[in-house]
Structures are given as structure tokens and as C-alpha cells.
Amino acid sequence: METLHPKARRDPFGSKINRAHSPLLAIGLPWLTIMLGSLTPWLPIIAPAPILPPFGFMLLLAWRLLRPGLLPLWAGLPLGFFDDLYSGQPLGSGILLFSLVLMAIELIEARFPWRNFWHDWLTASAILGPYLVVAALLSGAALTFVQLTMILPQLVISIVVFPVLARLVARLDRLRLMRFRRIG
């Protein structure tokens, strides 16, 4: 009898026979990673000024841009709430901004349905700028010109770091679709 190539029943996500995706991982991993990103304030960095990028928000962007439809449109409510608990922003600012951004991306994608690396990066950058400014305005801190210029370095770091995060999310997406569950 003709033997099949040993790789014939496999793809990058594992064996195609007898295995299936784990729903927990396939649905839960984006939520988990975004929430881990929101825990940035617990990193052992005591910053004298806002210098770290908003990792939770950027992971949300990266997941949303990589896999449209994976996160529901209302995901901003729970994820923003979780972010607010730790970010130091007044409660509600994350909920508001995350929800608005998810809707904005939905509208952007209805208008520009193409996607490539540059397009995603541009979208993310165009969203990160207003996000950081509005978040600073809503933070309840007494803002002067000095404080607003301090957002600039943070914005530059965020924009530069975004492709790295997008790459990380792409890796996590492969993990997400691994067939771990054994059937039969």
C-alpha cells in the first residue's frame, strides 16, 4: 500500500487527526494577554514620568488588527474596566477609551478593508496618539504644557514598540490555534 508522507496529516497547528482546538485557549488567550498587559504598573519599574507604553491597550489593538471579529465589539467594557483598576487613571476612562477605539477600528475597517503590515502600523499609530493625549487629559492630573509634552517620548516609544507587540501577538495566535484537545 502506498504510504503517506508523515507530515501529510499535520499542519503548523499540529495533527489534523484526533486533535482539535482548545476553546479555552482559542477564545481566552487574547483576553488573558491583554489583561496581563494591563498589569504593567506592577512591573518593578518606578518611573518618574509616564514612559512605558500602555501595554494593555496596545495588545488590544494588536489582537483586534490581527484577528478582526475575535474580540467582540463590547470587549472594551470588561477590558477597560480591568485596565482602570491598575493604570492609575480614574475609573471609567479605560472603559470609555477602549470602547470608542474598538468602534473606531470597526469603522476604519469598513472603509479600508485592505490590510498589510504598514496599514496596521499606521492605524495603530493614528490611534495611539489621540489615545495618550485624551488619557492624559482624563487622568485628573493638573495638566500644563510641560505635562503634555511629556507624552511625546511615550508616544514615540509606543509607536516603535507596536510592531514588536504585533509580532508577539502573531506568535501567540499560532499558540492559540494549536490543536491540544484530544478527541476520541
Binding site: 518593578p44 518618574p48 487613571q89 517620548p153
Partner: protein, 281 residues
């Protein structure tokens, strides 16, 4: 779920967020309980990370000192030398003060720390400057208590969970500390600028006698902070005061001490909600 329904739900979510935001901006203390619970839940992980921070201090300082890299570094080092000398001078004055008080027979209650805790983390991505420490209500920490390090004042406790507390750092723009010049009684207010420095505003207007390198310590007015804790060193003279560098840089701080409120009666008499303790301009 159809696209329309999804938009409606997301829109409602956004409105809900906006409502919460307005509530928490108008009454910032409303959701303290929620946040404290969340902080308690995450603090063990943060504490483990903080333990490793001391060893990797150099690396993190490089990140934190991002703004003042290169040319300003040498300048800062020189300022630090000056600051140390001035601190020693302040120390000498304090000792003399102590001695004179002893001569007069005044009792000076030794402040016994409430708790010693690790500085776990800070809101490094937000415009607010809030830190987390690893001691809470169970250790006797209460809102309002000053947090100090051996180098000087770090901030004050904002909210307490049972095992962790949120600390309003000196550099937060909502933080305002009454200070005086260590060498004389020139009084000023030290406001945070949320970029790692403080803005000193003189109480008396007129000529500005502050010079670069002047060290400022807490004055004790208001009753919250005991007098004589080092706060900052003036770096840059402005029209109505100076821009000061914080002496106890939280990034270089590992353990902090939570002290009791200095004069509880005095503090409670002038106490007002955190958002309105800024004098009207």
C-alpha cells in the same frame, strides 16, 4: 449578534464608561474599595518582581533616567554632591535643634514607623504618579500617612487594601507639600509636575531668594508630615519659586517607611478631599 446590536452594546459600554469617569473625576474616592481589592490580588506578584529590582537597579535606572541621559548626567551628579553637603548641614541644624529643645526640656516624640514596606510598582504608563507599596491595613497603614525613604519624602498613602496600599508620589501633579528651606525659614509649596521634578512656589511673593542647590525640607504645617524630612533640591529658578529635583528618587528606592500622621488633630482640622486641597488661584 448582528452588527447593529454590537454597535449598540459597545456604545452603551462607552456611555457607561463615561458615566463612571465623571463620577470618579468628581468624587475620586468613590471606587477606592474596588481598586484596593484589585491591588491586593496582584501585589504578591509585584512584590516578587520588586525583590529583583534592587539587583537590576542600574538597568532600570537607565530606563527611568531616559529624560536626563547624556549631558545632564554629569550635571546631576554635581548637583547630588551639593545636595549631600546641604543635607549634612541640615542634619547638623537638626541636631542643634534637638539639643536646644533638650535644654528647654521639651519632649520631642520620636516618630516610630508604622510599617516598613517594599515599593512594588508605579503607574508607569499613566500621567498620574501613583505607587504601590507592600503594606496595608493589616499592617496599620491608613490613608494620609507619609511614606519616606532614607533619602527623604516619597509621598503619602492614598488608599489602603489589606496587604497593599496606593501611594500618591511627590511628583504627582495632585501632590502638594508645605516645605521650607533647610537653612532658614523660607516657606514654599512643593507641587508635583509628574515628570520627576517638583515646582516650588513661594508663599510670600516679591523677590525670589532661592538659589540653585538650596535644599527644601517639610515644614510641618498642615500636620501631615513631620518637619524636617528632605524633599527636594532647587535646580532651576523660576519667577515665583524654582523647579526642584526630588531627593528620594522612587526609582532608586527599595524599602520605604510608613510613618504615622504627625499631628492628627491639626491634620483633621484642615483636611479636605484630595482634589480640592489645591489653593484657588
Amino acid at each position: 449578534m448582528g452588527l447593529f446590536t454590537a454597535y449598540v452594546v459597545a456604545g452603551l459600554g462607552a456611555l457607561f464608561g463615561a458615566a463612571l469617569l465623571i463620577i470618579s473625576l468628581v468624587r475620586p474616592e468613590t471606587f477606592n474599595g474596588l481598586r484596593s481589592m484589585a491591588a491586593d490580588a496582584a501585589s504578591p506578584a509585584g512584590e516578587a518582581g520588586a525583590a529583583g529590582r534592587t539587583e537590576s537597579q542600574g538597568f532600570f535606572e537607565a530606563i527611568a533616567g531616559y529624560y536626563r541621559a547624556g549631558s545632564r548626567n554629569a550635571e546631576l551628579e554635581r548637583e547630588m554632591e551639593v545636595a549631600r553637603v546641604r543635607l549634612a548641614e541640615a542634619q547638623a541644624l537638626k541636631q542643634e535643634n534637638e539639643r536646644l529643645k533638650a535644654v528647654l526640656g521639651l519632649t520631642h516624640g520620636e516618630t516610630r514607623p508604622v510599617a516598613v514596606a517594599r515599593l512594588i510598582g508605579s503607574t508607569s504608563a499613566s500621567a498620574r504618579r501613583i505607587g504601590y507599596i507592600s503594606a496595608g491595613r493589616a499592617d496599620g497603614v491608613r490613608p494620609g500617612m507619609p511614606v519616606t525613604s532614607p533619602m527623604g519624602l516619597v509621598g503619602r498613602v492614598l488608599e489602603t487594601g489589606s496587604r497593599s496600599a496606593r501611594v500618591l508620589l511627590l511628583t504627582d501633579s495632585e501632590s502638594m507639600v508645605p516645605v521650607r528651606r533647610a537653612s532658614d525659614n523660607l516657606v514654599a509649596f512643593a507641587e508635583g509636575r509628574s515628570d520627576g521634578s517638583l515646582r516650588l512656589r513661594l508663599v510670600t511673593l516679591g523677590t525670589n531668594p532661592i538659589k540653585r542647590g538650596d535644599v527644601f525640607v517639610t515644614s510641618g504645617s498642615g500636620g501631615l508630615f513631620r518637619p524636617g524630612i528632605a524633599v527636594g533640591v532647587a535646580m532651576e529658578i523660576t519667577r515665583d519659586g524654582a523647579i526642584a529635583q526630588v531627593l528620594s528618587n522612587p526609582a532608586a528606592t527599595d524599602f520605604v517607611t510608613v510613618e504615622p500622621i504627625w499631628q492628627r488633630e491639626g491634620y483633621e482640622a484642615v483636611r479636605s478631599p484630595p482634589r480640592s486641597d489645591t489653593p484657588e488661584e
